[in-house]
């Protein structure tokens, strides 16, 4: 059993770490970090919960069961962003807005389809790490 301090810090850190990971993700095009880094940050938050609370608590409090699904969803999103331009007659992975066009702004956030691709990478990394951790700590569960 881990100490009270560890558990307290782990619980305290969960939300801020997830927010930081989303921040890294959406600002990836403008600042340091990308979907991979954001995915690892989110996975770290998850892993810290495991180390602090153990499998039984995490399994009931966090949607860890969905990890394989999240990973597959991430890959699907990335493939969609990759292939969607082909349906429009463009070459694959032709991002919008095109060079020279002004992207849509929400506050200081720019909407670019490349970020959607990065979201796919983020989901995949988070899901993959979640799957691996899940099978490490609870190997008797039926394979996904």
């Amino acid at each position: 059993m881990t100490s009270v301090l560890t558990r307290y810090v782990a619980r305290l850190l969960l939300a801020p770490v997830l927010i930081v990971s989303v921040g890294i993700l959406v600002k990836g095009y403008a600042d340091v970090g990308d979907g991979f880094a954001a995915g690892v940050v989110a996975a770290l938050a998850l892993l810290l919960q495991y180390v602090a609370f153990g499998n039984d608590v995490v399994e009931t409090s966090l949607p860890i069961r969905w990890s394989p699904g999240i990973a597959v969803a991430g890959l699907t999103l990335a493939v969609l962003v990759f292939a969607a331009p082909m349906a429009l007659g463009d070459r694959p992975l032709e991002h919008l807005p095109a060079a020279g066009d002004e992207p849509v702004h929400i506050g200081s956030l720019e909407l670019i389809t490349a970020v959607a691709f990065d979201v796919g990478v983020f989901l995949l990394v988070l899901g993959a790490v979640g799957t691996i951790i899940g099978s490490l700590v609870d190997p008797d569960e039926e394979a996904p």
Partner: protein
Amino acid sequence: MTGPRITWSALAAVAIAAAAFAATWVAWAAGGFAVDVPWAPAWDLRLSLELDGLALLYAVLAAGIGAVVFAYASAYVPRHLAHEGRPRGEEARLHAAMALFLVSMLGLVLARDLILLFVFWDLTAIASWLLIGFDRASRHARLSALMALLVTTITAVPLLIAILVLRREYGTTQIDELIAVARPGWAVALAGALIAVAALTKSAQAPLHFWLPRAMAAPTPVSAYLHSAAMVAAGVFLLSRTHPLLALEPALLDVLLGVGLLSIVVGGLLALWATDLKRLLAYSTISQYGYVVTMLGIGGAAGAAGACLYVLVHAIAKSALFMTAGAVTEATGRKRLPRVGGLARRMPLLAAGSAAAAATLAALPLTLGFFKDELFFKAAAERGTWLAIAAVGAAALTLAYIGRFWGGVFLGRGDVAVEPLERRLVWPIVALGALAVAGGFVPGPFASLAQEAADVTAAGPAPVDVAYHLDTRTENAMAVAAWLAGALLLTARAWLQPLLSALARAGEAVGPERIYTVALGGLNALSNRIHDVEVRDLRARLAAVLVPASALIALGVVFTPAGDTYSAGRLVGADVPLVMMLAVCALAALATTRPRRHLRLALALSAVGFSLAVVYALLGAADIALVAVLVETLFALLFVGVFSLVPARALRKEARRRASRSARARNVAIAAISGVVTTLVAWGAFSRPIPDDPTAQRHLALADEAHGKDVVTVILADFRGLDTLVEITVVLVAAMAVATLLHGRFRA
């Protein structure tokens, strides 16, 4: 008896085959059909399909015989599954694989690009693996499926090499263009020989015939389809398709002639010896395709005409006989010749249907098969007397073993209990038998179908002349001689039996099948030993990577021209933090050699990683530093988490274990070698000026246009997005593999 309800999957399979059959005829009547779409334009590969006469014949056979056999399978497979105690639902797997086979076969015969043809060629092998290994609980079936897959796909590699040779020499893989430009020479000779290897193996010709009798482990409908009209037909189809190329080198045709005759004899004698009904038919298939290969070896208009009609007749007759063997086994529960007999009175309809099929195969008059032997005799007699004599012998052998099969099953005395069979197990045989007899009276339509194919094979008019001539021409004399000799052989079989057994035993002891088994066993053993060395323990595995890699790199260092490769450079004030951080990193690395407790070791390793991350940051590589910090944190936490899962006592015990002196010396040596070599390479690399990379400059310039300020992210998500996509796919596969491995191990 009506039998079990037809499942939707069986119905779908029959419908697909029937639709393909109808579509082929409609397309042919409409003047053919052609598709030509660029597939990989950079390599000039085209998805080009075209229905010509040769494709028509094989497509009609694959789809038509397919429809009949699938109908038979709809009754046979439920019985088969019931015998094996398997759920009825598995039926769909067989029908799906059958349909896959049908589609790959159609693609194969329609393909006009050799690369495309090769893709379908291997697809048929994969589908046949699924089908032969359908009884996956049986080790015998699995090994047989593996054998068919290995033998036919390993010999497909020569086909690919042949295609590349032709492409290099003539700059195209389109069959028509190749035939137009190819001239006799080494390229055609080499490619032709390699194509022949692939095709002859697929058609189960001696000496690579052994996979076919083994493949009889498949359920009967699979054998009736694959080993009469489809899988084995693919080989002679390829020979027909490339025949104008092969004919440029007469020596190649002579090889075909030799292999064909050898297969007729080997297959025929073994068929005369075999007692298992399906194996007898498998040996007979080897022999019958030997006829086709012989005729393709004779070549010319007569050879092409004979080969094409032979394939047509054989597919109809042999699928009916395979289905007969299945029906007899279902009705009596017996699989071997001496155990059945006298069934003609009990199962008159089945006896009549398969009698027609057997008579066709044995080339008796008033059946379609009569004409196939007439053309065979004609082609052989044109070539020379010795071949004419061989042809009569071959036909006699065929008559003998087919007579033995049908007579052994349906004639004589028999006291076997016979279960009634559902109609779907009998009528397909009757239908094919009726077709064969109808062809004996009205051979015209069959002949014109064969002629369309023969024209393509011979690259010129190859008339398929079928008619009864009541005179003393050579073919008729040869046919009569063959019947007499066949009848004689059949009555003398009892005396021949010891000789045949000796032949079969010799084949088993030193034949190609033995070589295959020994080679496969040896490869397995080698693979096991490498696996043992590599994964016995972690240190051995690391050594297996580090030592060879170091040796290779050291070779590179030694043979790289020296000069000012190694220079220390000058230390300036701004470098001091960097050097300090590198020193910390080195100290941390040294520290990892000390601790015996797992947690401390993990923390020391993390220290190395974190100090390296700081080095990246000092060099201005913020993105890399971020990822390094994150990955190090992840691993540190993972180690802590995993250690907390292992009982503390076990960890302490493991930490107290001391390696032997020699093992420690070995570890130090391996570490030192790889460390020194890596240092040398890194030093050498840093000593050179960094070349100006135009790609990096372009990426930096383009990043702004792609609305990005962080060029690393833009590269990952935009410029090199395909790489990223492939990499994350690998991540997903790796995650699934880890999960599966962990679950599998802990369950076992």
